[in-house]
Symmetry: D5
Subunit: 92 residues, 10 copies
Amino acid sequence: MLYCVMIDVNLPADMDSAELAKLKEVERLRAIELQESGKFVHLWRVAGRMANISIFDCESNDELHELLTSLPMFPYFSLKVVPLAKHPSSIK
Amino acid sequence: MLYCVMIDVNLPADMDSAELAKLKEVERLRAIELQESGKFVHLWRVAGRMANISIFDCESNDELHELLTSLPMFPYFSLKVVPLAKHPSSIK
Amino acid sequence: MLYCVMIDVNLPADMDSAELAKLKEVERLRAIELQESGKFVHLWRVAGRMANISIFDCESNDELHELLTSLPMFPYFSLKVVPLAKHPSSIK
Amino acid sequence: MLYCVMIDVNLPADMDSAELAKLKEVERLRAIELQESGKFVHLWRVAGRMANISIFDCESNDELHELLTSLPMFPYFSLKVVPLAKHPSSIK
Amino acid sequence: MLYCVMIDVNLPADMDSAELAKLKEVERLRAIELQESGKFVHLWRVAGRMANISIFDCESNDELHELLTSLPMFPYFSLKVVPLAKHPSSIK
Amino acid sequence: MLYCVMIDVNLPADMDSAELAKLKEVERLRAIELQESGKFVHLWRVAGRMANISIFDCESNDELHELLTSLPMFPYFSLKVVPLAKHPSSIK
Amino acid sequence: MLYCVMIDVNLPADMDSAELAKLKEVERLRAIELQESGKFVHLWRVAGRMANISIFDCESNDELHELLTSLPMFPYFSLKVVPLAKHPSSIK
Amino acid sequence: MLYCVMIDVNLPADMDSAELAKLKEVERLRAIELQESGKFVHLWRVAGRMANISIFDCESNDELHELLTSLPMFPYFSLKVVPLAKHPSSIK
Amino acid sequence: MLYCVMIDVNLPADMDSAELAKLKEVERLRAIELQESGKFVHLWRVAGRMANISIFDCESNDELHELLTSLPMFPYFSLKVVPLAKHPSSIK
Amino acid sequence: MLYCVMIDVNLPADMDSAELAKLKEVERLRAIELQESGKFVHLWRVAGRMANISIFDCESNDELHELLTSLPMFPYFSLKVVPLAKHPSSIK
């Protein structure tokens, strides 16, 4: 079951650069782990902004919640979830 | 080059049902044609609404414009385009 | 799996009264049918407005979409879907 | 008399983790206490966000205000209250 | 129990003037009737706009809904309800 | 001449509790003083929120400005003023 | 006492041109009459839009309401009123 | 003096196709005329939407207003004007 | 050439009072200077809020920018500029 | 391929002035470098605000993202990207 998740990442402009680098690295590792699990099926950058559009494939709303809150940058997210259904004109 | 396109379809509630059926059919045929061309790579229904989230893969902004305006329901769309870039944590 | 669905019903102010009465009756029958199926678990009126807050219990986003679009007043809805997860402090 | 209460919890991203753990625990205890009283009838998590949708059953607007402001996280809430009425198509 | 009700009246600009005069008259009569009942305690015009701010005193959310929907202009309203509680600094 | 004033009070969640108690007390005393003067005719709490809906009766816009800015919590207000006129259907 | 009034004029795009010309003429005459009375002290066009920014000088909110609703195009207005006070740095 | 003008063109979806073709043609001719005059210096299509972003070079706000209202599609525009100044980092 | 400038002044609620008094004084002096130059033709306080509505008379967008950024409180402004044109019904 | 980029620069009002001067200088140098490369084709100041409207000419969404994030003030930007297509009435 698919969900489109739109995320704005609101990192403070004055964050310590070492802390920022570390946060980005743990975020990257967790994002890769989730992608390799098959649950996190697409991850795109919104051009020009610290924002992402992602597609998740989960068993349930509960699982989606668990995955998103496991991301290290979660406390900095403004986040919108759109549950997706099959489109009658999709050929997939 | 990818774009996320979010579309709300604002069909008048009192549209003639034969006209509506015909419009849906030509829309479906054009959507399939675009998907088969490889330009229209994902098409999802927003659950519970006459709305879509789509991913297009185009050569340019001009090509994207041409494809979207070729859809028969285009005059009924409220539409938002988000240009996408590669995300540094994407494994694709 | 639960979803909160917020619906504004935008009926035209000048709708023919017989047509309106009929539409309300078929809507009522379908709403009762869905409630009796166990899929439509709560239905509340927003005080003072032609608007509802509902809770649906569905297998999937696809099923939710199917149920909502089966409501006769669907073409008149402005609708927002919020997927719900278990809250860690809920005692249910 | 029912109310739907939508809450966004805006905890500072840099809150001390011990303080945060303690705040979450007192919030959980008060939420359980209110649920056991029968006044706080539903509590759901909005999937993917630090946000809740709740249903309260109160004697009056005053009682609702008293209950909500008794929650330890109240100072961090963005909150919307929707008073609910019986829906003519509800079977409850 | 008090509620603040903010109403925008969206009458079509091209409404037939006789129909409009009649609608205003039945609205006025019903508004007076509700005020005389003690349920509709304040009625103010928003200066410069076809909009009102009102205070209702009702037993319950259900009663408020019943009163508001009994107004003849209800189908033309955009309406917001704010449930009110006693303010700790009020001297009333 | 009446004005409806809607106020959101944005106190910092981490305000020192002694300072907060003192601020609330001076605010309460000034609010009582204004009510006793007959200028501040209604003061209601928005149920569930640190927000107020008030009615002021002033000689002029200038007087309204003077009264509102004399409230000790003024620097923390988000505030909207709606000038009110007599409603043709009001019985007062 | 001054008010800033911001008006968007929402004339239907398909209005009959003779009717439109007549409406513009009666609006113009009433606007001139109000300006000559000294109540309507400034009238500016928002560059590029069918919108105005105006300053009215009235005895009361009631008088402002009376003047604005006397404008023939009133039914087509989206209108916002801002009550003005003397600014401490104004040299007038 | 430059202005950025953002225009959404809200043509009715059911406009007669001959009338639409004619309107587009007169609009095109006027747009070309204005560009050739040197007043209308850039005209871009917003990809995927019936919307434009334009740059005008005018003597004054009045001239800008005159040019924009001379466009045949003006009654169908939702329009935003942004006055532009020289940027200190611009090399032009 | 006229511009309407709407300014919200977002001073931090916890600003040091001596610093605040000094900032208000230099702002007042600069505002008077600009008014005496004839460029800053009207300055009104929005009743009940730390906000202003002003009218500037400038040679160009560049001059307007220069004047506004010369105000000492500029870093605390949320600001909207509306370029004004002559209104066909204005008698000035 | 062109993009319109609208940027609000949200510098903290209390930023250290030396730090601010340095940040503005490195921003200016990078902006000049990008303009000289031919990728950053227009840069305008929004009159009266710390905001810009820019036009970029890039090979792809990825290149646009790379250029924008290379600007030293990027962490302080609120930013909107509008992909542009050729307008059928443009004479360029």
